[in-house]
């Protein structure tokens, strides 16, 4: 079995306030793993501990307890960092440099050997649509342009793992779509992507797995499709529904929505069979019976919106 790209095992981080003795727990025994080649979303409300987790992963801060590994190495180990491309939240650059000079600086730091560094940089700038602004000082860039440049620098070392903290923040809808497409291309190339985002509809489109944390606790982790299919409701569409049957359906906890020439009934999955049999027996024609998939947003709000963690 291949070494997981990311492994967190019982990671705890407690911050100490500067002028107070009261500790602030940021992470409480978080455990999860991300396999190589996966696109994994790391979700949670503000203050959940996402950035702290990412900082531990990058070796910027140290966990108080537990163990974390990146490709089997300790976070901050040069061998691990050689395989990572990182986009921090609110990426900051040397504002006096232009995009080309900044990428050249990061290329030298990445240690990546290439015969044509200029070609590589030009290609990356083209990929993130900044080739026309390559000589403009970064201080004059818009928020979206800075974010795109951040993505370019994350890709610079040809990393196996991309850690992206809010990659689409500050981008317009077209820019967001470009980043989504870029992530899907990278996924097809076999890269592992670990990203945090608040735009759950996007996460739904690009991710294989989801890890949800709230107030430092792991709330849920698993395959996205499995999670979404767990919506325990079913929709039955019938051609007509007599009043007597409607009453019985409602007593079974189902909801009824009448349309021009059909009636939609939404009920728990457990009621699927008795309801279908009741409709057949009552002379109703069942036009369709479809399991209802909940959206990631619905699931997320269910888990953390009302305080998913203890």
């Amino acid at each position: 079995m291949a070494t997981p790209a990311i492994e967190f095992s019982g990671v705890t981080k407690i911050y100490q306030r500067r002028f107070s003795r009261s500790p602030v727990p940021a992470l409480s025994g978080i455990s999860f793993a991300v396999s190589q080649g996966e696109v994994c979303a790391f979700l949670g409300p503000n203050g959940a501990g996402k950035t702290t987790s990412m900082s531990i992963l990058m070796g910027f801060i140290y966990a108080d307890q537990g163990e974390s590994r990146v490709f089997g190495y300790a976070p901050g180990d040069v061998r691990a960092k050689e395989r990572i491309g990182f986009l921090p939240e609110n990426f900051a650059f040397y504002r006096y440099l232009n995009a080309e000079k900044l990428l050249r600086f990061h290329l030298r730091l990445s240690g990546r050997r290439t015969d044509d560094p200029n070609g590589l940089i030009a290609g990356l700038l083209q990929k993130v649509k900044l080739d026309e602004h390559r000589n403009l000082k970064i201080g004059k860039y818009s928020r979206g342009m800075v974010q795109r440049l951040g993505i370019a620098q994350a890709l610079l070392g040809d990393p196996q793992l991309l850690v992206l903290d809010e990659p689409t923040s500050g981008l317009d809808p077209a820019g967001r779509k470009e980043v989504r497409d870029l992530i899907l291309t990278l996924k097809a190339e076999g890269k592992t992507i670990f990203l945090s985002s608040h735009i759950l509809s996007e996460v739904e489109q690009i991710c294989d797995r989801v890890i949800i944390i709230d107030r430092g606790h792991l709330v849920r982790a698993g395959a996205l499709q499995e999670m979404l299919a767990e919506g325990n409701r079913v929709e039955i569409v019938v051609d007509q529904l007599p009043e007597a049957l409607e009453q019985a359906v409602k007593e079974m906890g189902a909801s009824v929505e009448r349309e021009a020439n059909r009636v939609r009934i939404s009920a728990d999955t457990g009621q699927k069979r008795p309801l279908a049999e009741m409709f057949w027996a009552g002379g109703c024609d069942v036009l369709s019976l479809t399991p209802l998939k909940s959206s990631l947003e619905e699931m997320f709000l269910k888990l953390v919106g009302t305080g998913g963690s203890e």
């Binding site: 990058m58 070796g59 801060i61 921090p88 730091l109 990445s110 620098q153």
Partner: protein, 264 residues
């Protein structure tokens, strides 16, 4: 290679550092102001007062050398403190440290960048001092390396101390501490001081003895020549300075290794 990349980037960033540019601008103004009395002395020199005027001119050059030395120490401390703190404040450190770069390499690159700045400063100020002496009709009969190496080692000590302090403190506090340190060094450096030896000796052991690293020790400025001084004495003094700088730098590396990296 990575250390060199960080060093060059650090040196480049100093050109855009408003505080450093402002300090350098003020310093140039002071030097230019010092030139006017020098030129006046020169113009007023006659056969009758040549001896007296020469004394004035040499005092002027000696004053300039002290100014260069003091300003250089401040510049080294501020540049070292700001080189690290600036990256933390702006958040650029996160992108840099995400690269396959060890923390000590980052600090070493920053330190090298500061020392490159100080090398430019030392060479430039040496040029200014020589020019002013020449304008005053004097010549330095001295080994050039003494005037280059000693200030560099002295600035290496200040830069390392600043780098150590800034790993845990705000750069403004670091500069304030430098003010206190400079005062303490002056007080405790005086052998005639009335402070009891049980206080003076331990403090003297901890604080850098920058007087030992002053090139002025070897210059008889009134004659603008060099005192005879053996190689072993030079080596001991320079080794002391380098050792002090190394210890401070290693302590800075140790503290920096364990601290959290985040946007301040």
């Amino acid at each position: 290679m990575r250390i060199w990349t960080i060093a060059l980037s650090t040196l480049g960033s100093f050109r855009r550092n408003k505080v450093i540019v402002l300090f350098c601008g003020l310093f140039i103004c002071v030097v230019l102001l010092m030139m006017s009395p020098l030129m006046a002395y020169k113009a007023m020199t006659t056969a009758a007062n040549a001896q007296q005027m020469q004394g004035f001119i040499l005092n002027e050059v000696a004053g300039l050398m002290s100014l260069v030395s003091g300003f250089g120490s401040l510049l080294a401390a501020w540049a070292a403190a700001d080189a690290v703190a600036g990256e933390m404040k702006s958040g650029t450190i996160l992108a840099v440290m995400a690269r396959p770069l060890r923390r000590w390499e980052f600090l070493a690159g920053k330190y090298l960048g500061v020392m490159m700045l100080m090398a430019i400063y030392v060479v430039a100020m040496l040029g200014v001092t020589f020019t002013l002496a020449w304008l005053g009709g004097q010549r330095f009969h001295t080994a050039l390396w003494v005037l280059l190496v000693y200030p560099m080692v002295r600035y290496a000590v200040w830069a390392a101390v600043a780098m150590l302090l800034v790993t845990v403190l705000h750069p403004i506090i670091v500069i304030a501490i430098f003010g206190v340190l400079a005062t303490l060094i002056t007080i405790f450096g005086q052998s005639q001081s009335h402070i009891p030896s049980w206080v003076r000796v331990p403090v003297h052991l901890v604080l850098p003895i920058t007087d030992l690293l002053s090139e002025e020790r070897f210059l008889v400025i009134t004659r603008a020549s060099v005192k005879p001084f053996g190689w072993s004495n030079h080596l001991t003094a320079l080794a002391y300075g380098l050792d002090y700088a190394l210890v401070c730098f290693l302590l800075a590396v140790w503290v920096f290794h364990y601290r959290s990296l985040s946007r301040d």
